[in-house]
Amino acid sequence: MNLFWQILFDGFIISSIYAVGVVGFSLIFGTAGVLNLSHGAFLVLSAIISWFFISHFHLPLLAGMVVGVLASIAVSYLLFVLLINPIDKSKKIPTTEKEIFILTATLLWSMIIEELLDYFFSSNPVVVPPFVKGVLNLFKMNITYNEILLSFASILILIILWTFINKTKTGKVLLAASMSHDGLAISGIDIKKVYILLWGVYGVLTGLSGALLASFLGASAQSVPSLTGLAFSVVVLGGLGNITGSILAAFLIGYIQTMTAYLISPAYTSIPAYVILVLILMFKPKGLFGRF
């Protein structure tokens, strides 16, 4: 029984953090059609910048996070302006190969961020300080208030994102962009402005989730590939571009990992998740929930 509660709580905490970490990847694919393989680098960048400003300049926690989010927005726009847009517009690159060019470009972008972080902040992981202190002893478990807060903050961000996209005038434009770019254009909406909005939202999202992620799991330049891999897996599992699907898939992967850790061994945490991912793709090639 104890184990049951443990898996339930731990799984929820880790899953909600995963969900907030990957949802941006899904958003940017669904709306802009970009598989951003530098997603992990965005998360780590904002986490390390936040940590740096908090621990070296003694900024308050939230102020440090704001700096992290700003950094994330900056690299987001840079990626769009320097790489995505030029490749999109390029006449030299055949349309059928744009996808692989964007993949390669985002990979290189990821390496640049990763190596710069490594250079300036070393490859040692950093942990963003806890937002609150203290421990909750429940069912013989040690759950820190910080984990609970992180989990709630993640869910809150997801709810805000959902509300923004589904309920606000501006947000609906993003949602619409995932269905038809031409439809937006003939509705009199400048698609370029949509992109600016989109990459901004993406930057904010990765910025916030990076700091949350690093408050629990820590972040280092070396964790970039595994974070990108996680985002990629979760999002494909949930159905590319399907935001709700990605969130559900994050919970699925999070719980599978937690169950593996508790019921089999912590050493094998990610293996069952990967195997299940492969099986699902083989039998349901469009992911569990398809597109929308």
Binding site: L35, L82, L83, P86, I87, S90, K92, I93, E99, I100, F101, L103, T104, A105, L107, L108, W109, M111, I112, E115, L116, D118, Y119, P225, S226, G229, F232, S233, V236, L240, A267, Y268, S270, I271, Y274, V275, L277, V278, L281, M282, P285, K286, G287
Partner: protein
């Protein structure tokens, strides 16, 4: 008048002839770097054969490379079979691992296939870590067997191997098989309706790509005397392979050799910058990607 197609072969021959003289010009260390670049070039060519001719974006080429390399290394450490046999068995294991990827490649497209191949690498990485007592974990494994201590012998070995691989792959790329592969990549239904059983060709392409990847991986291990995740498995290696292929000039077989040399030598040359060297290499890669989308080789292929 030369048509561009033949030009890339001429470039290949010129590169080969130039490379023959490397040990007479440069220090042993530089020769060592060139040796690694040659093995790496085979990785990139194998990737290019799959991508350029069969249209599959394989994020898992280190799945084959790693399986080939680790099989050979583990056999070498734990058995007494000769080195050459270890390498051959490594290559066989690599082909089998390549065939594992064919099944999804026939069913899945685009990012979905990409993810499967990516996951195959992540899984292999996990297994290497879990079975650290056999594999040396994340950092690596040192093997007793080694091809040679002489940098010259190693270099010429690698050069011959690379030239041989390039030749075989060029022959395949230029052969009816290459043409049919390209047709099935471009429009599978059309290729089928010209009477080709495209499954057969995809299996062959994956097999050949895996064979050379695995061979090269095993040889590299016995050149350096060490097998490690960061050398033959990690995603970073895949990225370097893809980036080299695109920078060199995809779908040309020779272009990837240029790309491999570009990446490895540039990084070596920028070594004084320390970690920043990777940043500079990546930025150069982006510049080539944006302004020379057909790769370095297109500089030489431009029509008069």
């Amino acid at each position: 008048m030369l048509i561009p197609k033949d030009r890339s072969i001429i470039i290949g021959i010129v590169i080969f002839i130039l490379l023959i003289f490397v040990p007479y010009i440069f220090s042993s260390y530089v020769v060592g770097v060139f040796t690694i670049a040659l093995y790496f070039a085979v990785f990139v060519m194998s990737w290019d054969l799959l991508f350029g001719y069969s249209g599959e974006v394989n994020f898992g080429s280190t799945f084959q490379i790693g399986i080939g390399a680790y099989t050979a290394a583990i056999l070498n450490i734990n058995t007494h079979i000769p080195l050459a046999l270890c390498i051959v068995l490594g290559a066989v294991a690599a082909i089998l691992s390549g065939l594992i990827l064919v099944a999804p490649a026939l069913r899945l497209k685009g990012p979905y296939f990409g993810l499967i191949t990516l996951v195959s690498v992540l899984l292999l990485e996990q297994f290497v870590t879990i079975f650290a007592q056999y594999t040396g974990g994340e950092i690596g494994l040192s093997v007793p067997g080694i091809i040679s201590v002489s940098s010259k012998i190693n270099y010429y070995m690698a050069l011959l191997f690379c030239a041989f691989s390039a030749m075989v792959m060029l022959v395949i790329a230029r052969s009816p098989i290459g043409l049919i592969l390209q047709a099935s990549a471009q429009d599978p239904i059309e290729a089928e309706s010209l009477g080709f059983n495209i499954t057969k060709y995809k299996v062959l392409a994956f097999g050949i790509s895996a064979l050379f990847s695995g061979l090269s991986g095993a040889l590299l291990v016995f050149y350096l005397g060490t097998a490690s995740v960061s050398l033959v498995v990690s995603i970073a290696v895949v990225l370097q392979i893809i980036i080299s292929a695109i920078i060199g000039g995809r779908r040309t077989i020779i272009g990837p050799i240029l790309g491999a040399f570009f990446i490895i030598l540039l990084r070596e040359w920028l070594q004084p910058l320390g970690q920043l060297s990777y940043v500079v290499v990546s930025i150069m890669g982006l510049i080539v990607l944006l302004f020379l989308p057909d790769g370095i080789i297109s500089l030489f292929l431009r029509k008069n």
